[in-house]
Subunit: 346 residues, 2 copies
């Protein structure tokens, strides 16, 4: 390993001068700059980040904590984070937390001793303990969680997104719309999304039909079962994750119901799963990659605190349509229902 001293010797100058040249500071002649640069090239010198960080206290690693590194949502966010980090010259340190606070604490400690420039937390809320553990020098930001506490965060408005989604189904003419939700204590977004659904249903004078799943594919079929038990005449299902939505599509078809002719299905997240089912899932898209990028940008802008709301959008694919004429009376569309979030088609 070649050090700054080697370069200094080779160039016939002091280490201090080499440091100045390498860091583009002032205080050397063109002549010496040239000599130093030559030496750097010849010896293939690369400054040691560790030593540099030890001295300057400024580092170039960003911590990224995800409950699972292998689920589609986290993967997308990770991708955005990784790209933005590289672009700004930062390295990413990855931790899989499984949402276990002991794991999170462990990573936070590690990140502190590595003097991380900041920490990004996917799908988890920032607690007081976490802030404590990191110390005041290291900022932390959450991604993909609507956080009411005012901590730095990048997320969509989950309540509004679910509201818009439900409104969309109502507008198509559906009245009996089942919600495939999730456990609100382990899955933080489940609560606001449920509120959004309930609000839209209440405004339309429809009664809610709700079952809870795990957000994983496997829980889709039992979830549908439960919804149908509560309301056999269901004409639409709004699933809080694409995985559950995909499972519902497959399960409906297995039961001999056509999608979307008999039952419409709407997913959430616009992960690749939504395209792997036939017909492809209509879904609510979160700009996950953008959210990851935004998170590092906020982290790096010294004090850009507070929550940042990103736009969601409805993507219409083949899994949603108006209910069959006659299957129930048509829903009357009121003027107020025209204002909706922007919507696009893929």
């Amino acid at each position: 390993m070649t050090t700054i001293r080697d370069v200094a010797k080779q160039a016939g100058v002091s280490p201090a001068t080499v440091s100045r040249v390498v860091n583009g500071l002032v205080g050397y002649s063109d002549e010496t700059r040239k000599r130093v640069e030559d030496a750097v090239l010849r010896l293939n010198y690369e400054p040691d980040s560790l030593a540099r960080t030890l001295k300057t206290r400024q580092t170039s690693v960003i911590g990224l904590l995800a409950p699972m590194v292998s689920d589609a949502l986290a993967s997308q966010v990770m991708r955005g984070v990784e790209d933005a980090a590289r672009e700004h010259g930062y390295a990413v340190m990855l931790g899989r937390t499984g949402l276990k606070s002991a794991y999170i604490a462990g990573y936070l400690r590690t990140l502190r001793t590595y003097r991380a420039a900041g920490v990004i937390l996917i799908s988890a809320v920032i607690t007081h303990d976490m802030r404590q553990l990191l110390g005041p020098a290291i900022p932390i930001i959450s991604v993909a969680i609507s956080d009411k506490s005012g901590s730095p965060s990048v997320a969509i408005n989950d309540e509004l997104a679910a509201y818009d989604a439900t409104r969309y189904l109502l507008k198509l003419g559906h009245r009996r719309i089942g919600l495939l939700a999730g456990d609100p204590v382990s899955i933080f977004v489940a609560r606001p999304r449920r509120r959004g659904y309930e609000r839209a249903m209440a405004e339309a004078g429809c009664s809610p039909v709700i079952a809870e799943g795990t957000f994983f594919y496997e829980s889709g079929a039992p979830g549908l079962e439960e919804l149908l038990r509560q309301e056999p005449e269901l004409t639409a299902v709004f699933a809080m994750s694409d995985e559950m939505g995909a499972a519902v599509v497959n399960e409906l078809q297995k039961r001999g119901r056509r999608v979307p002719e008999d039952v419409s299905v709407l997913g959430f997240d616009n992960t690749s799963t939504s395209q792997h089912v036939h017909p492809p899932l209509s879904t609510i898209a979160q700009p996950l990659e953008d959210m990851g990028q935004m998170a590092v940008k906020k982290l790096l802008r010294s004090r850009d605190l507070g929550p940042r709301i990103m736009p969601h959008r409805l993507i219409e694919r083949g899994s949603t349509a108006a209910p069959r004429a006659g299957s129930q009376r048509q829903h009357q569309v009121s003027p107020a229902e025209q204002k909706q979030s922007p919507r696009s088609t893929t």
Copy 2:
């Protein structure tokens, strides 16, 4: 930030003694150990990894380089790596390379200056340049690539896996089996898998039918189109990725052919995608998570070089079956065809 000196002062000993206690070395009385431990607790002292590494030259970070952090295969491997790394007290530094050698080089440099304990490369072959860049002190290992060069690696035998897969379809009675492959220069596993398919087909006296896709879902439909153009009487399709396999299932159904009654479909990798289609895909499973874990273990066992072959296995789900009687003559099973890889059902 509290340093070793603070603790020393608090405990009334020298920094050296604190270091000894903290690192569990010998050379102090029970009495002082107690005093030091108290001070550590009271001051909430945490040794600085950076300074420690600078001195000892041994680090606790493992570099993990993946072409995409958001595809299902890499995610699974990452998960295994992450788990094993944590278990051994290592942190994971993540890099997304897109297989661009410039990106890889950049990360390798970073990892060198961070004195990484080792580097894990997903879905890419280790080149001489990479080894050069890392220097002799840092080992590197590839995962999910059959590497003939003898560099450290953890992978399945892709040739054999594809051979077994094809044999399985032959044994079911299929003769006209299409292969949905991939570009062998950008997707390294495409070549051995193709060889395995060709060998099995040749042994059975069947002529190969091959189309190239990208391994992504989108390429499944055009790939099937091409296969059918070459051989309209196809009764089975072997896709080199689950994504392509899932697309083929959907596309076949769209064209009014039933799976598996009219056409069988076999995927590869056993990613979650294989379960998100109906009927669920039969597929070749790689133990991706195990492979990730194995990679860090090999890295950490000082000099456990060379390639490590992991077992693949065939998972039978609903997308494969014998061809319809009469659609073609039954294939005669020879005794040699009985020896097959272990196989399980999910």
